[in-house]
Amino acid sequence: MTTVATVSEETGSPYALSHLDALESEAVHIFREVAGEFERPVILFSGGKDSIVMLHLALKAFRPASVPFSLLHVDTGHNFPEVLEYRDRTVEKHGLRLHVASVQDYIDRGVLKERPDGTRNPLQTLPLTEKIQAEKFDAVFGGGRRDEEKARAKERVFSLRDEFSQWDPRRQRPELWNLYNGRHAPGEHVRVFPLSNWTELDVWQYIAREGIELPQIYYAHEREVFSRSGMWLTAGEWGGPKDGETVEKRLVRYRTVGDMSCTGAVDSDADTIEKVIVEIAASRLTERGATRADDKMSEAAMEDRKREGYF
C-alpha cells in the first residue's frame, strides 16, 4: 500500500493537497456528480489537450469501472489528420462510444453555407446543438476554462442551457459550496465544465505529471505553413494558401487545437513537455490571443457565440 502525502513546508500540514491534487479532486467530484444525477451525459472530445485531460480525469474517477459517458466530436471537416487519428485510437483503446456531428454534412446538404473567410468554427454551433437534441443528451461536458477569456470567467461549473442551447449570463444560478444544481426541464441541458478552475499551465503540468500522451502537433515540429492575419496556418485543401500567401517550412507547435482554418501555430523549438511548460510560463500572450482567429472578431465574440450555444 502507498499513501500519497505531500507535506507543504509553508503550512507544515501533512493534509494540505498540492494545487494539482486539489484541482484533480474537484474535477473528479464534478464527473461523479453528473454520473449520479443525469441520464445521458456526453463528453465533448476534440482531441485537443483540454478534452484529453477531461477524459483522463473521467477514467480515473470511475476506476476500476469504465467511463459511464460517451464522447461527442464536432468534426468541422478541416481537422488536423493527426488529431483525428488520435481521437479514433483513444476511442478504440478505452472501448468508448463516439458520436460525430459533421459540419461538412450540413454544408453538403445546403443547411449551412461556407463563410467567405473560410473559417468553420462558428459553423459548429448548429451541428452541435442539433446532435444534443437528437441524442437527448442532458449533460454535456466541455473542457472550457475560466482563464481562457473574460466571458468564460463568468461561466458556472454547471451551466444551464435552454432548448435552443442558449446561454443567458443573467439567468445563471449562483453556485454555492460544492452543491451543484443540475435540475433542468425536458429539452434543456446542462453544460458542465470540470476544468473551470484550471489554467493553461495547470493543464500542462498535469499532462506532465500524469504522463498523458498528446497528438504530436502540440510539440515543435517542421511544418508547411503560411501567414494570414498574423498567424501561421497549416497549408491544405481547406483553403490556403491563396494568392499572395506563400508557404514556408517553419519549426512550430500548436498551443490550442481547433479547426485548421482558425487555429494558428506558434514559432517554437519546444519539442518536449518540459520545454513546453517553460515556454508557457514565460509567454506574454494568452493561448487564445496568440492562436485563435475566432476570438478576435469583436470585443464580445466569445460571449455572443456562447449565448448561441457554442461551447
Binding site: 500500500m1 500519497v4 505531500t6 507543504s8 503550512t11 500540514s13 493534509y15 494540505a16 493537497l17 498540492s18 494545487h19 494539482l20 491534487d21 486539489a22 484533480e24 479532486s25 474537484e26 473528479v28 467530484h29 461523479r32 456528480e33 454520473a35 449520479g36 480515473k60 474517477a61 470511475f62 476506476r63 476500476p64 469501472a65 469504465s66 475560466r146 482563464d147 466571458a151 470567467a153 463568468k154 444551464l160 449570463p169 443573467r170 444560478r173 449562483p174 453556485e175 454555492l176 459550496w177 460544492n178 452543491l179 444544481n181 435540475r183 426541464a185 473551470s196 478552475n197 489554467t199 495547470d202 506532465a208 517553460v278 509567454s283 500572450l285 494568452t286 490571443g289 496568440a290 460571449e303
Partner: protein, 444 residues
C-alpha cells in the same frame, strides 16, 4: 519576478480567496495589481483593453475592462456577477472570487465566500469602517471564512499616517472578533501606488507586517483534522461487473471533512447500518488513509445497501439525523421565499423534498439587528429559517463543517437555486426563536 521551475510549480498549494469592497474603495485596482504583478495579465489582454479604451476616447486604459466580462457589465460600467480569476507565484496558486460591491449583490458575495478560505475586505482610509464594511465582515463571519484581511487602502491620501491605520484596524478587529471572525490581519496599503500590495512600502516604515501578497502566500490553508468529524457523502456506487473485478463494489465521493483509514468502523446514514472499511482507493491507487478534500472510493467489509445520497461516518462520531432543520440562510433568487413554500433541499449528495415551516427572523446586516417574523425573504435577504424535510438528514452544524453543515434550496418547478443555507446556531441569533405551532401534519 524570479524564474519558476517546473518542480516548484507542481509542489505549490492552492488558496481560494474572495475580495469585498465598495465600488470606490479601489478593489479593481488591487485586483489589477495582483494580476499584473504576478504576470497574469498578458500582453494581448492589455492591448485589447487599450484598444477599446482608445476607441471610446478614454486617455488611459480602463482596467475594469479586464475584469468586466459581460456585454451588460461593460455597457453599464459596473460588475454585476462574481467572476473567478487565477494567478500564481512561485509559492502558491490562487483562485480569486472577484465579487461585486453593491449591497444588492449580497448573494454574489455569499457565493464567492462559500468556497473561500480568506476574504480581503477593503476600506478607504479616509472613510474608515463604514456600513458596507460591517456588512462584508458579517457575511465573512456568517460563512465562516477562516481568515480575514482588512486592507486599509489609499494610505497615500492620508499622509501614510500610522494613527489613521491603527484606529481603523482596532475598530474593525473589535467588530469582527465580536462576530466570531477567527483571525484578522490588517494591512495598510495603496493599491494605486503599490504600497504593501506586492512590495513592502518605503512610505510606511512603522508597519512591520506582511504585504498583501506575502500574507496570501503564507496563510495556512489546511485545518487541523484531528478536531474534524470525518464525513463522506456517497456520490456514486462503482460496480465494474467485469471479469477482472466481478465483486468490486466501491462507494465514491469527495471527503467532506476529516480523514478515514482502513480498518475503521463506520456507519452509513440515514439507515444506521454499520461496517468496517476494508480498503480505500485514491483514483485507482490503494491507500491506507485519506482525508478532506480527496476524491476517493471506500470499500466495506459487509455487503450492505448503500446508494447515492448516503453519508458514511466513523461509528464513534456519527451526527444525529433530523427532519427539522434550523438554519441561517441567504436568499439568492429573485422570487421571494415564503412560509409554506415547498422546495427541494440538496445537502451533500442527497436531494429531498422539504417545506419552509417558519421564518422566525430577518437579519439587518448594517447593525445585526433581528427583524422578527418578516413573512418572507427576498433576494439578498439573510434570515433564520425552519425547514421540515420529507426524509431524515444527517446534518452537522455549519460551525463544525462548512461542507456537511450547508445546503441549498431548489424550486421544484423550474430548478432555480433559491437559497443558501447554513445549519445551526448563528452569531446573529444568540437566542433560539421558539416554534409555537408544533404542527408537523403535512404531506406532499
Amino acid at each position: 519576478m524570479t524564474t519558476i521551475t517546473t518542480e516548484e510549480l507542481a509542489e505549490t498549494t492552492l488558496l481560494r480567496f474572495a475580495t469585498a469592497g465598495s465600488v470606490d474603495d479601489g478593489k479593481s485596482t488591487l485586483v489589477g495589481r495582483l494580476l499584473h504583478d504576478s504576470k497574469s495579465v498578458l500582453t494581448d489582454q492589455l492591448e485589447a483593453v487599450e484598444r477599446v479604451s482608445a476607441s471610446r476616447g478614454q486617455e488611459a486604459p480602463d482596467l475594469a475592462l479586464l475584469t468586466d466580462g459581460l456585454r451588460a457589465e461593460r455597457e453599464q460600467g459596473i460588475t454585476i456577477d462574481v467572476a473567478y480569476r487565477y494567478f500564481a507565484t512561485p509559492r502558491r496558486r490562487f483562485i480569486l472570487a472577484d465579487t461585486p460591491g453593491h449591497v444588492q449583490y449580497t448573494r454574489n458575495m455569499v457565493t464567492g465566500a462559500s468556497t473561500a478560505e480568506l476574504t480581503v475586505i477593503l476600506v478607504d482610509a479616509r472613510n474608515g469602517v463604514v456600513e458596507q464594511t460591517r456588512r462584508h465582515a458579517a457575511i465573512a463571519a456568517l460563512l465562516r471564512v477562516p481568515h480575514a484581511v482588512l486592507a486599509v487602502n489609499k494610505m497615500d491620501l492620508v499622509g501614510y499616517d500610522e494613527k489613521v491605520f491603527a484606529a481603523i484596524a482596532e475598530e474593525f478587529t473589535a467588530y469582527a472578533t465580536e462576530l466570531g471572525v477567527p483571525e484578522v490581519t490588517a494591512i495598510p496599503i495603496s493599491a494605486l501606488v503599490g504600497d504593501n500590495v506586492v512590495d513592502p512600502s518605503a512610505n510606511m516604515d512603522w508597519y512591520g507586517g506582511p504585504t498583501v501578497l506575502e500574507h496570501l502566500e503564507t496563510v495556512p490553508v489546511a485545518h487541523d483534522l484531528s478536531h474534524c468529524h470525518a464525513r463522506l457523502p456517497v456520490q456514486y456506487v462503482i460496480r465494474p461487473q467485469s471479469a477482472d473485478h466481478p465483486d468490486y463494489r466501491g462507494y465514491a465521493g469527495q471527503i467532506a471533512a476529516g480523514s478515514f483509514h482502513v480498518g475503521e468502523d463506520v456507519t452509513v446514514l440515514p439507515s444506521g447500518r454499520a461496517s468496517k472499511i476494508s480498503g480505500i482507493d485514491l483514483l485507482g491507487e490503494p491507500v491506507d488513509v485519506a482525508w478532506t478534500t480527496q476524491s476517493v472510493t471506500l470499500l466495506l467489509e459487509d455487503d450492505i445497501d448503500i446508494s447515492r445520497g448516503d453519508l458514511i461516518v466513523p461509528s464513534k462520531d456519527a451526527p444525529p439525523t433530523t427532519q427539522d432543520v434550523e438554519a441561517t440562510v441567504c436568499h439568492v433568487a429573485d422570487a421571494a421565499l415564503t412560509v409554506g413554500h415547498r422546495v427541494l433541499l440538496k445537502h451533500g449528495t442527497r436531494t429531498v423534498k422539504a417545506i419552509v415551516k417558519d421564518i422566525p427572523s430577518r437579519l439587518t446586516l448594517d447593525n445585526l439587528s433581528l427583524h422578527p417574523h418578516p413573512g418572507q425573504l427576498v433576494a439578498n435577504d439573510i434570515g433564520r429559517v425552519k425547514i421540515r424535510t420529507a426524509e431524515p438528514l444527517p446534518v452537522d452544524s455549519y460551525a463544525d463543517s462548512r461542507r456537511t453543515g450547508s445546503f441549498i434550496l431548489i424550486d421544484p418547478n423550474d430548478g432555480t437555486t433559491l437559497t443558501a443555507g447554513m445549519v445551526g446556531e448563528s452569531f446573529a441569533a444568540p437566542e433560539p426563536v421558539k416554534d409555537a405551532s408544533g404542527d408537523d401534519g403535512w404531506d406532499f
